[in-house]
C-alpha cells in the first residue's frame, strides 16, 4: 500500500508543501499544485477560513497520510514569524491527518547521513520542505 508524506515549510505568509510517495524502491517526489498556500492577513477571519479550506483541499487532493513540519523556535533570535504559527495551528486542526514536527537539527543530520538532494524540478523555495519530508520519511522507514 502506498504511503504519502507531505513536508511543510513556512516562508513569510506562505505554507510550502512538498509531497513524497513511498514506492517499491524508495521515496519519490510527487509534483503537486499549488506549490504554496498563502495567508496574507491573519487578522481577517474569513481569510483564515479560506486558507484552512485551501490546506484541507490540498491534503485531500494529494491523498496525504502524514504531514511533517520543520520546527521553528517560538522565541529568541531565530524565532518563526507570527504568520507561520497561525498557519501551523490551522494545519494541525484542519483534518484528522497526523501532523508531526521535526527539529532543524534532525533535518540537517538526515541530509548529511543520507546525502539526498532535492529534484532539479523543484523550485528553490521548496527545498526545505523537501528536506523535512525526506528526513522524516527515511527516519520512519527504519
Amino acid at each position: 500500500m502506498t504511503r504519502r508524506v507531505c513536508g511543510v515549510d513556512f516562508q513569510g505568509h506562505a505554507l510550502i508543501p512538498v509531497v513524497l510517495v513511498r514506492e517499491d524502491d524508495g521515496w519519490e517526489f510527487v509534483p503537486s499544485d499549488p506549490t504554496r498556500v498563502t495567508l496574507a492577513d491573519f487578522w481577517d477571519t474569513s481569510e483564515v477560513r479560506l486558507f484552512a479550506k485551501a490546506v484541507e483541499a490540498f491534503l485531500n487532493d494529494h491523498l496525504i497520510d502524514e504531514v511533517v513540519v520543520k520546527k521553528r523556535a517560538a522565541k529568541g533570535r531565530y524565532a518563526g514569524g507570527a504568520a507561520s504559527f497561525r498557519m501551523g495551528g490551522v494545519l494541525q486542526v484542519v483534518t484528522h491527518i497526523p501532523v508531526r514536527f521535526l527539529s532543524p537539527q534532525a533535518v540537517s543530520s538526515a541530509v548529511e547521513r543520507h546525502g539526498f538532494a532535492p529534484p532539479a524540478s523543484l523550485h528553490k523555495y521548496q527545498h526545505r520542505a523537501f528536506d523535512v519530508a525526506m528526513a522524516y520519511a527515511l527516519a520512519s522507514r527504519s
Binding site: A40, D41, L50, E56, A57
Partner: protein
C-alpha cells in the same frame, strides 16, 4: 404530513416510503431533481429532520457509492445517515435536512458579498476534494445541490448521480442530467472525470458571484437551435434542440456571460471562472486545491463588496465605502462613523471603474 397514496411515483417507491412510515413522519416531496425524487421528513424517535433521495440505479454495476460516501468525513458534504437498495431500479440515500435551503434559492433571494461567494465556493471545492480523494465524482454539482447548513457552511448533497471511478480509469460515463451544468466532454465523448466536477464548481462560482444562467432553455438557443426548435415536432424534440444548443455554447465557452456579472466582480475572478470552465479539461485547474489557491489570489485583490443591483457597498475596519449613481455618473462615498461623504475624485461613468479606484484607495 403528506399523503403517500397521492404521490405520483412508482409503486416500488411508494412501498419503500410506506415501510419507513413508522420511523419517519413525511412532510414534503420534491420531483425538482431530474434524477429521482427527494422526500423530506422527521425521524420521530430522534426528532431529526431528514431528506431522502430516491435515485435510479442499474443492478448490473457494483453499487459502491453509498459505502464510500458514508466513509467520507467532511464539513462540506452532507453525511449519509443511511442508504438502501429498494429494488432492481431504485435506491435511496438519507441525509440530514438543511432548513436554510439550497444555493439556488439562496442566490434568488439574496445577494452574497464577494468574499462570501468566494468562501462558499472554496467550501464546495473542499468537499469535492474529499469526494475525489475517495475516487468518487459527483456529476451533478449545481447551486440546487449545495446546501447551507445551520452553521452557515456550504455542503454538497444530492448524491443521486455520484459514481465511483474504477481504479484503472480516470473517468466514468457522463450523466445526462442538468444539461446547463454538463461539461463539454460529457456531451462530446459521453465521459466525465474529476475535471468535470471542477467545471461545475466554476459555474457554481459564476452564479454565487451574481452571474445569471437562464434556466429557460429558449433563451439559450443559438441560430441553429432556433431552426431546430422551429422544426421540432414535440416537447421531447424541443428539449433536444435546447440541449444541443447548450452543448454548442459550452464547447465554445459561450455559456457564461461575464458581462452580466456585477461590476464589483474583478477581472481576476472572471479569469478564475473562465479557466475553471474551459472547454478543454486539460486547460482547467488540475485540482480543487489549485482552484482554491486561485480564489485566494483573486480575493486578496478585492474588497468584500455587496452589489444590490444599483449600488456597491463594502465594509472595512473603521469605515464603509460605497459606489452610488450620481446623475449619469457613479461616485464613491465613504462613511467613517459620521455619515456618508462624497469622495469627489472617485467618479466615473461606469460603476466597475469607480469600484476599482475605491479598492486602490481604501483596500487591498
Amino acid at each position: 404530513m403528506i399523503d403517500l397514496a397521492s404521490l405520483d411515483v412508482e409503486d416500488g417507491l411508494r412501498d419503500a416510503l410506506r415501510s419507513l412510515e413508522g420511523e419517519i413522519e413525511f412532510t414534503g416531496f420534491s420531483d425538482k431533481g431530474a434524477n429521482g425524487y427527494v422526500v423530506f421528513g422527521t425521524r420521530t424517535l430522534l426528532d431529526r429532520r431528514v431528506a431522502i433521495k430516491f435515485y435510479p440505479w442499474a443492478d448490473d454495476r457494483a453499487h459502491k457509492e453509498p459505502k464510500r460516501l458514508a466513509e467520507i468525513t467532511s464539513d462540506h458534504i452532507l453525511e449519509v445517515a443511511t442508504a438502501r437498495v429498494i429494488d432492481d431500479d431504485w435506491a435511496m440515500i438519507e441525509t440530514p435536512y438543511c432548513p436554510r435551503g439550497d444555493f439556488e434559492r439562496l442566490v434568488e433571494r439574496t445577494t452574497l458579498s464577494l468574499h462570501t461567494a468566494i468562501l462558499h465556493t472554496a467550501e464546495v471545492l473542499t468537499g469535492m476534494s474529499a469526494l475525489h480523494g475517495a475516487s468518487l465524482v459527483h456529476r451533478d454539482l449545481k447551486p440546487a445541490n449545495v446546501f447551507l447548513d445551520d452553521d452557515g457552511r456550504a455542503r454538497i448533497g444530492d448524491f443521486g448521480s455520484v459514481r465511483a471511478i474504477p481504479s484503472d480509469q480516470d473517468d466514468v460515463s457522463g450523466s445526462g442530467h442538468s444539461a446547463l451544468y454538463r461539461p463539454p466532454e460529457s456531451f462530446e465523448l459521453g465521459r466525465y472525470g474529476r475535471a468535470g466536477d471542477l467545471y461545475q464548481c466554476g459555474i457554481f462560482l459564476y452564479e454565487v458571484a451574481g452571474g445569471h444562467l437562464p434556466h429557460d432553455g429558449v433563451a439559450l438557443l443559438d441560430r441553429e437551435g432556433r431552426k431546430c426548435w422551429g422544426l421540432a415536432a414535440g416537447d421531447f424534440e424541443r428539449s433536444r434542440c435546447v440541449d444541443e444548443a447548450i452543448a454548442r455554447r459550452a464547447a465554445r465557452a459561450k455559456l457564461l456571460d461575464m458581462g452580466a456579472l456585477p461590476p464589483t466582480v474583478p477581472d481576476r475572478l472572471k479569469r478564475v471562472i473562465r479557466k475553471a470552465t474551459r472547454p478543454d479539461p486539460a486547460g482547467r485547474y488540475s485540482s480543487a486545491s489549485e482552484f482554491i489557491s486561485a480564489l485566494q489570489d483573486a480575493r486578496s485583490l478585492c474588497l468584500d463588496w455587496i452589489w444590490d443591483g444599483e449600488c456597491a457597498e463594502a465594509k472595512l475596519p473603521g469605515r464603509r465605502v460605497r459606489v452610488v449613481p450620481d446623475g449619469s455618473m457613479f461616485v464613491a462615498q465613504c462613511d467613517m462613523g459620521s455619515g456618508w461623504r462624497r469622495v469627489n475624485e472617485l467618479r466615473g461613468s461606469q460603476p466597475a471603474s469607480v469600484v476599482r479606484e475605491a479598492e486602490a484607495r481604501y483596500g487591498t
